[in-house]
């Protein structure tokens, strides 16, 4: 009982305090989520039946983001997905009888193919080269160090292990047969085959040498099963392959000079070789007869740089499916004639890079064909599609899993955009003229829009009562909805793609464009900004400045800056426009668009893990001056540099205490937070700086910190939150510290005392340059039950609404919202709050923050792999819009103080009208009665 009470006490307090909760009828309406898995790995993508009884197969794929997933081919929904250990975009997945086995890095895991639950996993010290699944679901694994291990089907424990003698041997591949496994390895630059017994792990027969000087690694793509071995020789100019038979005889083909990619696909007794040059591609079909491969026929080259082939067998026939950009061709591998051509729908071309297919012959002589295709486009790599008989049944936007940066774009207001000129006239004439102009304009508008408005009124009233969502939020395109819930997020992918995502409309992609042209690889991004209404500017890391129309996706401007960009920032110019300041690698700075009137702006830049520099840039000079440098104490490394959000309005400059006195917040737009770690002493330090003067305003050092885990920071208004993993073991703390994730909050005030501004006195303006004084800092530390991936702070138009801290939880894959007032460093410690403190809304300090599931804005959704959250205000003060990316995409509305400025769904319009009507009827009935009674009583009283 005591246990329960101890556990739930913090929760109860949270329940009392927490105001934000997800309403059941809001969930899935005001938020959206696109679950993604990333680009598929060709050799680890296959159709497979989830269990022996099942008739329909699922698509299983392992992606370069190390996610193993099962996709339903009917609608493209994920049946399940499991994140695996990261392994630089490589990995192997194989299907067994009701299981899927995966290997990433040095870990092997076996999953239930139907629901994705883990059967077993095992971790080794060496990397995995290849694996195979036996008929009994045991797994044979070939390791980089040359070991071959058989893992038991039930537990994943090692059943036997085989090591080959020579350490110079290079393992290549593994081929599982009925009772044996054949290991291909390069031994003294010869290709050797060793056959092992599956039962014992002993060698069967002597090693066989099949070829000399194979290329390591091979330069072709092998997408075949265990029956074929393929390799290249002479730096990729000869491709050899052979069926694994008792007397192997390799077949070979010469690869022409201009071929950039060859793929070998094998199924049953057919082998297909696909050649790609930059301009066209063709296919050779081989037939395996008694252990030797014989060329059957060649298919004529098709123009186009992109195509993919796949083999599928149904009955006795093996089909070849050749997916090119505009059409899918179906062949019977017995004959070189086309069986069927499926042209892709107009405007839906697919640049296939990999394809897997299923073909079934129908009774009427036609075929049912479906292909799962991964496509390539400039800047967008890995989108997957299902092509069913030439129709694109569904598309998954996997290329958006690699978003690295984003910016918000404000949409246009249809009520002011059309009359910009009229408004300008009104602002620039005298008051009288402007008044007359406005009255005239309103009369015109009344004549123009009035009749339509009146006509639409019954429909509007009808909708207001009976439809769930306000119809005014239905505006599309670049026009803002009434409440401003729709905004575009313009995002940049790691491959150099640029896309606009409509965050208010379930993450719909509005347009796509590419920042790069083919031969050049995208160098990365330094910054993306909304520079003007409807214009975004991108500063690429290689020193290019590009402007795009945010609504249409047209390139407006492209300028070379002359050197790679180190850092960039968006600044306000005196003429009320915005400019991008870029600091270049060559020590110069550029201001775009050129604004000579730009006064000095101060930027800070992390030069190395031991140095942060402050720079001063003006619109005229091209040489930034270094104003200050920050070097942490010896053996500390700088891990992150964080500043306040650009849009961070503060509604109140002070905090009113219970006794009506005020403590003033230390508000500094140039707050800069630097975190450092010291791995030798296991400490972490946090420095709060003034980014203009470089003065250290506050610093704190925590001992017993796990420096291998990241320290996350969030900054807003006059406070800083950060988290780290604290451990008593490393440095014994007197009294004993708690082990777990610590969440520290520090608030900055001008003075310790109420109604006192400390050194600032009566100053109305404060300058960092003349000394803004040192803040008085209050801190409190909490234990948080989960690791933290990132912080963000809710952002509203005026900053009146209470702030909420968004915390990305990687463990349960959710976003938790923590009201700032819960982690208030003024909470009384070790005593109950007195009346004044209660009035202030403070409650007793509890060291633990329990996660209340009702404050998880992602509720039952699993948002996997998110890296960053961006917030922006809506038109309504109460609401903040959230967009999160990294792997999945997630968008939601956030109302930290509830939607006080909007009638919610809980407001019963029909009830209200009903009550008013009932009251009116009641009053009409009762009024004569009361009047009569009053008169009667007066008469009787006389």
């Amino acid at each position: 009982m005591r246990l329960l009470s101890r556990l739930w006490l913090p929760c109860l307090i949270l329940n009392v305090v927490s105001v934000l909760a997800i309403f059941k009828d809001d969930a899935y309406h005001t938020d959206w989520h696109i679950p993604l898995i990333g680009p598929s790995i060709a050799a680890s993508t296959f159709f497979h039946r989830p269990n022996a009884e099942s008739r329909a197969s699922l698509i299983y794929t392992l992606t370069t983001r190390s996610i193993l997933a099962a996709i339903n081919p009917k609608d493209g929904e994920l049946v399940w997905r499991q994140p695996l250990a990261e392994s630089n975009g490589t990995g192997i997945a194989c299907g067994g009888n009701g299981i899927i086995v995966s290997a990433t890095g040095s870990a092997v895991a076996s999953f239930d193919a139907a629901n994705g639950r883990l059967f077993w996993e095992n971790q080794f010290s060496s990397k995995i080269v290849d694996l195979g699944v036996t008929a009994t679901n045991a797994v044979v694994v070939l390791f980089e160090d040359g070991a071959v291990r058989l893992l038991k089907e039930q537990t994943g424990d090692v059943a036997w292990e085989w090591n080959f003698v020579d350490s110079t041997d290079v393992p290549i591949s593994l081929h599982v047969a009925e009772s044996t496994v054949t290991v291909a390895l390069s031994h003294i630059s010869k290709l050797h085959l060793t056959t092992l017994s599956l039962a014992t792990g002993r060698e069967v027969g002597s090693p066989l040498s099949v070829a000399g000087h194979p290329d390591i690694p091979s330069t072709h793509r092998a997408l075949h099963g265990d029956d074929v071995l393929s390799w290249t020789e002479r730096s990729g100019s000869i491709l050899k392959f052979m069926p694994l038979a008792p007397t192997p005889a390799p077949a070979f083909v010469d690869i022409p000079q201009d071929v950039i990619e060859t793929t070998v696909v094998a199924l049953k007794d057919r082998i297909a070789v696909h050649y790609k040059t930059g301009a066209n591609s063709w296919v050779d079909i081989f037939t395996v007869d008694a252990g030797t491969a014989v060329k059957h026929y060649s298919l004529q080259p098709k123009a186009g740089a992109h195509s993919a082939i796949s083999l599928s067998t149904s009955g006795d026939v093996t089909y070849l499916v050749w997916t090119s950009t505009d059409e899918t061709l179906l062949y019977d591998t017995n004959r070189p004639e086309i069986l069927e051509t499926y042209p892709h729908p107009q405007g839906q071309s697919v640049n296939a890079t990999l394809a897997i297919s299923e073909v079934v012959a129908r009774l009427d002589g036609s075929w049912a064909m479906r292909s799962f295709v991964s496509s390539w486009a400039l800047g967008f790599v890995g989108d997957t599609h299902l092509i069913r008989n030439g129709e694109i049944a569904w598309t998954r936007p996997e290329s958006l899993s690699s978003i690295v940066a984003s910016t918000w774009v404000e949409l246009l207001d249809p009520t002011t955009e059309g009359i910009v000129e009229d408004l300008n006239v009104e602002t620039h004439t005298s008051i009288g003229a402007a008044y007359i102009h406005r009255v005239k304009r309103h009369l015109n508008e009344l004549a123009e829009y009035g009749p339509d408005w009146v006509k639409a009124l019954p429909q509007r009233i009808y909708n207001a009562f009976l439809s769930v969502e306000n119809t005014e939020s239905e505006r599309t395109g670049k026009w803002k909805d009434f409440f401003g819930f729709r905004k575009f997020a313009v995002v940049v992918t790691a491959e150099g793609g640029l896309a606009a995502i409509d965050v208010g409309k379930n993450g719909e992609v509005v347009w796509k464009a590419s920042l790069v042209s083919p031969p050049v690889k995208f160098a990365g991004i330094s910054g993306i900004y909304e520079v003007r209404k409807g214009t975004v500017a991108i500063v690429a890391a290689d020193g290019e400045y590009i402007e795009y129309d945010a609504f249409e996706g047209n390139e407006l401007l492209r300028a070379e800056l002359g050197a790679p960009a180190l850092t960039s920032a968006l600044v306000d110019t005196p003429s009320e426009t915005k400019a991008v300041v870029v600091i270049l690698d060559n020590g110069k700075s550029v201001v775009l668009p050129p604004s000579p009137d730009l006064g000095p702006v101060y930027l800070s830049i992390k030069e190395s893990s031991r140095l942060v520099k402050g720079l001063r840039v003006t619109g005229l000079s091209h040489h930034p001056e270094t104003t200050w440098t920050f070097v942490p104490p010896a053996s500390e490394e700088i891990t992150s540099v964080v500043s306040r959000p650009v849009h961070d309005p503060v509604a109140s400059i002070g905090r009113v205490l219970g006794d009506r006195s005020v403590i003033y917040k230390y508000l500094n737009q140039h707050l800069l937070v630097i975190t450092t770690i010291n791995p030798t002493l296991s400490t972490a330090s946090v420095y709060i700086l003034d980014a203009v003067s470089g003065a250290v305003l506050h610093s704190a050092t925590h001992s017993g910190v796990d420096t291998s885990q990241p320290i996350r920071v969030g900054v807003s208004e006059n406070w800083v939150v950060y988290s780290y993993f604290g451990d008593d073991d490393v440095v014994s703390t007197p009294g004993g510290a708690a082990k777990g994730y610590h969440l520290v909050v520090s608030e900055l005030y001008e003075s310790e005392f109420a109604n006192d501004r400390g050194s600032l006195g009566q100053a109305a303006n404060v300058s960092s340059l003349t000394g803004a004084g040192k803040p008085y800092v209050l801190s409190q530390s909490y234990i948080f039950p989960s690791p933290i991936e990132a912080f963000a702070v809710s952002s509203t138009k005026q900053g009146i609404t209470a702030r909420e801290i968004l915390i990305l939880l990687p463990g349960t894959a959710g976003i938790y919202t923590l009201p700032k007032r819960i982690i208030d460093p003024r909470r009384p410690v070790g005593r109950e709050p007195d009346n004044a403190e209660k009035e202030e809304g403070l409650f007793r300090y509890q060291p633990v923050i329990e996660i209340d599931p009702r404050s998880i804005i992602t509720h039952e959704r699993k948002v996997l792999g998110l890296k960053k959250m961006e917030t922006t205000p809506a038109e309504l003060e109460s609401t903040s819009i959230v967009f999160a990316y990294g792997l999945d995409l997630f968008g939601a509305r956030l109302a930290p103080s509830m939607t006080f400025d909007m009638l919610g769904k809980g407001f019963g319009k029909i009830q209200l009208v009903g009550t008013v009507v009932a009251l009116a009827i009641g009053a009409a009935v009762v009024a004569p009665m009361v009047r009569r009674k009053q008169i009667n009583s007066r008469w009787s009283a006389m």
């Binding site: 556990l7 059941k24 994140p83 993993f725 490393v730 004993g736």
Partner: protein, 224 residues
Amino acid sequence: MKLQLLALSAYLSFAAALTTIRGSISPSQQLPNPSVLPADTTITLTTSGAQYYTRLRADNTFVFRNVSEGSYLLDTACSTHHFAPLRVDVARDGEVKVAQTFRGNPWSNVGEKKGVPIELQPVKAAEYYVTREGFNPMKMLGSPMILIAIFSVISMMFLPKLMDKMDPEFMAELEEQKKKRAATAQNQPNPLANFDMASFLAGRSKPSSPAPPAQEQERGGKRK
């Protein structure tokens, strides 16, 4: 000899330094069937500089392989149920001790001992949603204000009828009293009619000018 022993023990300790820790989630009152837990339920062992994580298996067990010596915090990340943290101590010789722990308590404070292999039980199911309180007539009837209103309405309707059934003598007396009261009420000015809002707000208790009461009396007369 001694050296050899030392070497041997060092070897043994090294060999045993990596331990396998097993555990399971067994059916409980909160969770009668643990197989309903999501496939991505993960269990982590964390201490400074080392972190092991594993997923819940299909048979509702979990295994940490090759865990090195240390004092770990065991956390369960599950989207449908909430689990309490545990403390797992792995000794140099590979011995595993499990104890209940409370977040925020000093780590030196070892909690109640638990058995090995570890058994996890959920504390509570996670509830993500709040249902919006709609219009509920029964709930409205239950509120005290509405009950008072209903009671007064009923008494207003039934009191006159009760009166009719009363003793005629008592009735007459009541009438008399009523008349008297009415008469005094006629003579006394209505206190509300005499209310001076401005002076009330100004904080003055009595109206400064004596004239208004007379006027009010006149008006009161007219109303007859």
